[in-house]
Subunit: 346 residues, 2 copies
Amino acid sequence: MKKLTLEEVAKLAGVSRATVSRVVNNPERVSLKYRERVLKVIKETGYQPNQAARILASQRSNIIGLIISSRADLIFTDPYFAVLITGISRACNAHNYTLALFVFHTQEEQEQVYQRALGTGLLDGLIVTADKITDPLIPQIAAREIPAVYVGRPFDKTNTSFVNVDNVAGAYMAASHLVRLGYQRIATITGPMSSTTSIDRHEGYIKALTERAHAVEDDLIVCGDFTRDSGYTAMRQLLPHKPDAVFVATDTMALGAIQAIHEANLTIPGDIAIVGFDDLPSAIIADPPLTTIRQPVNQNGRLAVEMLIDLLETGPDPPHHTILPTELIIRATCGAIKFNSGNYLS
Amino acid sequence: MKKLTLEEVAKLAGVSRATVSRVVNNPERVSLKYRERVLKVIKETGYQPNQAARILASQRSNIIGLIISSRADLIFTDPYFAVLITGISRACNAHNYTLALFVFHTQEEQEQVYQRALGTGLLDGLIVTADKITDPLIPQIAAREIPAVYVGRPFDKTNTSFVNVDNVAGAYMAASHLVRLGYQRIATITGPMSSTTSIDRHEGYIKALTERAHAVEDDLIVCGDFTRDSGYTAMRQLLPHKPDAVFVATDTMALGAIQAIHEANLTIPGDIAIVGFDDLPSAIIADPPLTTIRQPVNQNGRLAVEMLIDLLETGPDPPHHTILPTELIIRATCGAIKFNSGNYLS
DNA sequence: TTGAAAGCGCTAACAC
DNA sequence: GTGTTAGCGCTTTCAA
């Protein structure tokens, strides 16, 4: 099947190139007679417009790039990203956009991947997961004036559009929940402190404790790196300090923490209560099912796409921000059940 | 920062457009003197070639599409895809290709997504995960003569290039292992029988049993749909028939099966032994750690990319095929350990 | 080595 | 409503 051009279709249909173009793009602007004639030729010949030519002429591609700026092993291991990508992908489909995926797996790849993603003339815009405080990507994107939406709060909010969840409030909710349940030694496992997400969740934890006149003990705060393994390691570090409850900054790390607790022959929540953050699918099948802070990851992905499309249509100013709320999901790891009679929840 | 064109860079450097183009694409073909002069201008102005124009003129985009033709909820839930995408992504980076992701989440989206993926002039080629026996995608891709590599054996192998693992041999290995360990009532939980992968793994199971003069009982064969939940349900269906071992066609389903066994207050492998298939990261953290058949998913992804690039360079004939071997990974769920003294493994 | 010029296939402003 | 025409910005022969 030979590849036809607009020109040839036009010739076959006995009309001009422009008419064929209109039939393809704005059928309603062509008389029924010509429209049908052209459509017939298109159907018969299997004509397909060349997308590169289209992009070049129209200066619009309907392609958006997703740059995931994190350790690549995490990306496809932590279900968080899976859920996020699902949301983004769905929204792209809904708005007839194609999604290009930019991930780097080693430091050497980084620059090269960035160059492809930041190149001119192909992508309409970018969605970027960059909550690192020193990410070199943000200034580059700004300098090239590429329409972009960030997922997660960038460290420097200036002139950037982003979607985020209220991490401070979510963490505050988690820690407050533990405080109200009567726990005394409430620890936390944080993410890396180079991430604004980690910073915000840590802040919420501190806020809840101090507000309730709980002492903040340095020994009860341990850093992880968002991996399950780091949750495991962090929990083992915590155990000698006898916490009776832990707020773990992500569900994925919480799963590792749970394993460490089990291995120490302690019970959950009897000996140590746990509250996670994210409410990923794995939270519900954890053993015991994980009490956690639900954040609307999927919806965040969708909103990022819609915000970007809006930016594309209305220009970059003013920058858009959306902060979604979180929700406490009580399951079995926090021990709320044992306080069930007349507790503060009712 | 205004967007420059080749033309303007040429003017600034006092050379022709062609020379600038050469500096960008084949620097070695330009005299040192001009090359440096042009590079200086490029650096100073931040010139970036327009990718759409480049694609149009060169008829090559260095973009490949990945079409995932499966239930979308699965795609980002089953770690199998995560691992596969990782392999593909890495290989794309290594060869300087950009990856476009095509996934549909509802049936209505399917046709539209396909049209974007199969459109002309943008993608150099496709990688397709299509092991469904009736997938309409394969004939469409063939008709349009789009270079493509399939991951997983297509039902009709004619003229298609693909990478696959030896599913029959892997399943045979799994079931034989259980037979040799002395289990008598060896069940299987298969994937949907519309998938060649499921068909092949089922075949390997049957082959192992019949070769060893084990009866194949219909009641001991239950279909799942690759989800964890379906593994759970299938196992519950199996329990009344008192299997003493189960070969589960995927690790993800095996996790569900394990949960069902636990809930029935049976032990693994004491009451029921399990062998999975895939060796995903979750296999090792399962409780107990899962004996399984390792398939090189990551490598499969890489090979698919490399095969496609090869196809792009050398043309579609003859079709390429790669069948990778699998490997039995013995952990705790098969009970091999209790036979440890002088068993067949030694 | 370098430059001139002819496309690549389409969109969109404009004129009819 | 339709056709004409001028680009979109680059690659790539072909001569020089």
